[in-house]
């Protein structure tokens, strides 16, 4: 290439860059006038479509515009933006531990409590939500976290035809579950599929067992306040019960190491697919959506169904472990107040529960059960009728515990159950410096 040509192209770039720079800076960050409410959440795809139905209804009612920003990376984004000084107006988070952290940083505002002009009154809350949700969202005497979506983590999926072939019925007690596991083993089949590569299927198992062994009060003290240590006898007892599930490893599809390298969807698929690798997948009412998407040929209820996580100690019965998403507020503006008021009410919850795509189970108890689709209705019934609700413990705990130390301990337990006390000591060590 000749030198002249080269020089020419160099010069050409400069005005082009200047033009681009001008264009870039000339675009205003937001249109002036009525400022939209900025909302961050984790949802995309169908989930987002369902939420947008709610938001569009809000805009229709009030004329207030919204900007929805959904990302699976909300952990990083929200933390960075809060510390960097540009949080959104509203964020909807699945992890309660992160909300506690935001309260401690004084980053989010109370919705209700000792203030003259609460965004939501206690009466409003009591009309719409179960006591358990209100208690959970109340931190240091003020209400911060509005539940907008709930799901049961105390369900176990199975294929009724496979159970019939084995001559077994859905279990109601731990003994019955053991009997079912034995029935599988006798036929050379693995009873359980657990997506142990993702941490939370393992923590869900543990939480369900722990609340059935030690009761809701101890559960809260273990996960939320850490008044109970991880080396406590109740924890050891719960781990022993978990051992009934993962030991010997023939009970697990793929064995121990296979479990640790299988994600939750693959584990679930392994139960539902034509030649199943396991009989039971526990955790997540929301899995019905994956069943519909991945196995359109199967009939819900008939070809696949769920039973409630069986009871262990009759004293505690079958409490439901609930996962949820909570709205928190960073900026107090009239538009934001109206959005929160709308989200807390029956109208928004009903729209969301009956959305075409991405319908959710609403924590709002005024949503009529009739609007749900079949599996969601069962899940909603379970949430309403439960003897007690507790929240997903790994989400209640700081993520250094719930998403790190606890996962490591449980994965280790799946592989080498005999060294359980060692794992619990390490877990307690991590917990001790995380609250």
């Amino acid at each position: 290439m000749t030198q002249r040509k080269r020089r020419y192209s160099c010069r050409l770039n400069l005005p082009l860059l200047a033009l681009l720079a001008f264009w870039g800076s000339a675009l205003p960050p937001v249109a002036a006038g009525s400022e939209p409410v900025r909302i961050m959440a984790t949802w995309g795809g169908d989930e987002e479509a369902g939420f947008r139905e709610v938001l569009d209804a809000f805009t229709g009612n009030t004329g207030i515009r919204y900007e929805y920003d959904g990302s699976r990376n909300i952990d990083i984004l929200l933390k960075t933006r809060v510390y960097g000084g540009s949080p959104p107006d509203v964020a909807i988070l699945p992890q309660f531990g992160a909300i506690v952290e935001l309260v401690r940083q004084r980053a989010i505002l109370p919705l209700s409590g000792e203030r003259p002009d609460p965004i939501l009154t206690w009466d409003e809350l009591a009309r719409n939500y179960d006591r358990a949700f209100i208690d959970l969202g109340t931190i240091d005497g003020a209400f911060y976290a509005l539940p907008v979506k709930a799901n049961s983590k105390s369900v176990c999926w199975y294929r009724p035809p496979s159970f019939r072939a084995l001559g077994i019925e859905p279990p109601r007690t731990w003994q019955e579950l053991q009997a079912i596991a034995e029935a599988h083993l006798r036929r050379g089949k693995a009873p359980f599929a657990i997506g142990g590569a993702d941490g939370w299927p393992l923590t869900d198992w543990f939480e369900n067992i722990y609340v059935r062994v030690a009761g809701p009060a101890m559960y809260r003290k273990l996960f939320l306040t850490h008044e109970v240590k991880w080396t406590d006898a109740t924890v050891v007892e719960a781990m022993r019960r978990l051992g009934d599930v993962v030991w010997p490893e023939a009970k697990l599809a793929g064995g121990a190491e296979g479990t640790l390298s299988t994600g939750f969807i693959d584990a679930f698929n392994a139960v539902l697919r034509p030649r199943p690798a396991a009989g039971i997948y526990c955790g997540g009412g929301f899995m019905s959506a994956f069943a519909e998407q991945n196995f359109p040929a199967l009939q819900g209820q008939q070809d696949y169904a769920f039973f409630e996580f069986p009871s262990i100690d009759p004293r505690w019965g079958r409490p439901v472990v609930v996962g949820g998403d909570f709205a928190v507020v960073f900026n107090d503006r009239p538009a934001v107040r109206r959005l929160i008021g709308f989200l807390a009410g029956k109208e928004a919850s009903t729209i969301w529960a009956s959305a075409e795509r991405g319908a959710v189970v609403s924590p709002n108890r005024n949503v009529p059960l009739a609007v749900y689709r079949p599996f969601k209705r069962l899940e909603a019934q379970q949430l309403i009728g439960a003897g007690g609700l507790v929240f997903d413990g790994s989400d209640l705990a700081p993520s250094a515990v719930g998403r790190d130390a606890m996962v490591t301990a449980l994965q280790a337990f799946v592989e080498e159950p005999e060294r359980v006390r060692e794992y619990l000591r390490a877990l307690e060590g991590a917990a001790a410096r995380s609250y």
Binding site: C10, L27, G45, E47, R273, Q293, A297
Partner: protein
């Protein structure tokens, strides 16, 4: 191709003559096949219905499986697809050119100008290569908020430029240091100014390095998601990667859409590579002939 016949590698031909030429070809083809398989898997997956993806391996679909364009349709009609594609171009072009514009003179100075602290400056640049970007997000976001750059394309250009600079300087320095110094000396003796020398001799000679750098930086910026989300904070300005991510639920489980989205997204950098590959091979031959 002008370069083929006279540049046939003597090494290969001797080697092939001595050992089995077939073995070399077999090895190369095997490596190529192994490298292609994962991508092929992604490609096949992108044409399969989600139910099939969950039920069976992609290779089982090759003879007579069901294929659908539905995944691509969903990707191409995602909310704001065209805007995000335009945004990606608007972000990536300046964010590819600017680091080169900044890095080329700096690399030249570090390679050829004698001044105090030159070594230290260059080593500092190498050290900066390893600074994890996560550490810079909060301080930079604070700065951008102060300057009103948050949510502007200028902000994301600057961020990508700064993040790309250490590698750009490192790469260009390595290349420029190998350039024949005698040429510069004679140009200086002819009375060329430093700027003129840089623009008319150094830059043209560095074409292959500039082209490689452009490829790497472009690919990096084009595939970036997290920096765009952090510094733009506005769905109307998000790039393609963000739009594609928007298709995924919070469980990130829609692999069929992810696969289709990846192919849509990577088609652009692939074209850039193919276009520039031609270009920098020509650049290299020009250099070799002169050398």
């Amino acid at each position: 191709m002008s370069l083929a016949p006279p540049r046939m590698a003597p090494l290969l031909h001797r080697l092939a003559g001595m050992t089995r030429r077939g073995a070399v070809h077999a090895t190369l083809l095997l490596v190529g096949a192994v490298w292609l398989v994962p991508t092929l898997g992604l490609f096949v997956t992108s044409w399969r219905p989600s139910a099939d993806v969950a039920a069976s391996g992609w290779w089982t679909a090759l003879p007579g499986g069901t294929f659908t364009a539905g995944n691509y349709r969903e990707v191409l009609t995602v909310r704001g697809f065209e805007i995000s594609l335009l945004n990606s171009v608007l972000i990536a072009l300046p964010a590819t050119l600017l680091p080169i514009v900044f890095a080329a003179p700096a690399a030249y100075a570090l390679a050829w100008h004698r001044f105090r602290g030159r070594r230290f400056a260059f080593l500092a640049v190498v050290a900066l290569l390893v600074v994890p970007l996560q550490l810079t997000w909060v301080p930079i976001l604070k700065l951008f908020n102060l300057l009103g750059l948050t949510g502007s394309f200028v902000g994301i250009w600057l961020a990508h430029t700064a993040f790309g600079l250490p590698f750009a300087i490192f790469l260009l320095h390595d290349f420029m240091a190998e350039l024949p110094g005698a040429v510069f000396e004679s140009a200086r003796i002819d009375g060329a100014s430093e700027l003129r020398l840089f623009l008319t001799i150094v830059l043209p000679l560095s074409t292959p390095a500039l082209a490689s750098l452009a490829i790497f930086q472009f690919v990096w910026v084009w595939n970036d998601l997290i920096n765009a989300l952090i510094f733009l904070q506005d769905r109307g300005k998000y790039p393609l990667t963000a739009a594609i991510q928007g298709l995924l639920s919070s469980y990130g489980s829609e692999w069929h859409l992810l696969a289709a989205g990846s192919f849509v997204s990577m088609s652009v950098p692939l074209l850039v590579f193919v276009a520039l590959q031609r270009h920098f091979i020509r650049g290299l031959t020009a250099g070799a002939v002169k050398g």
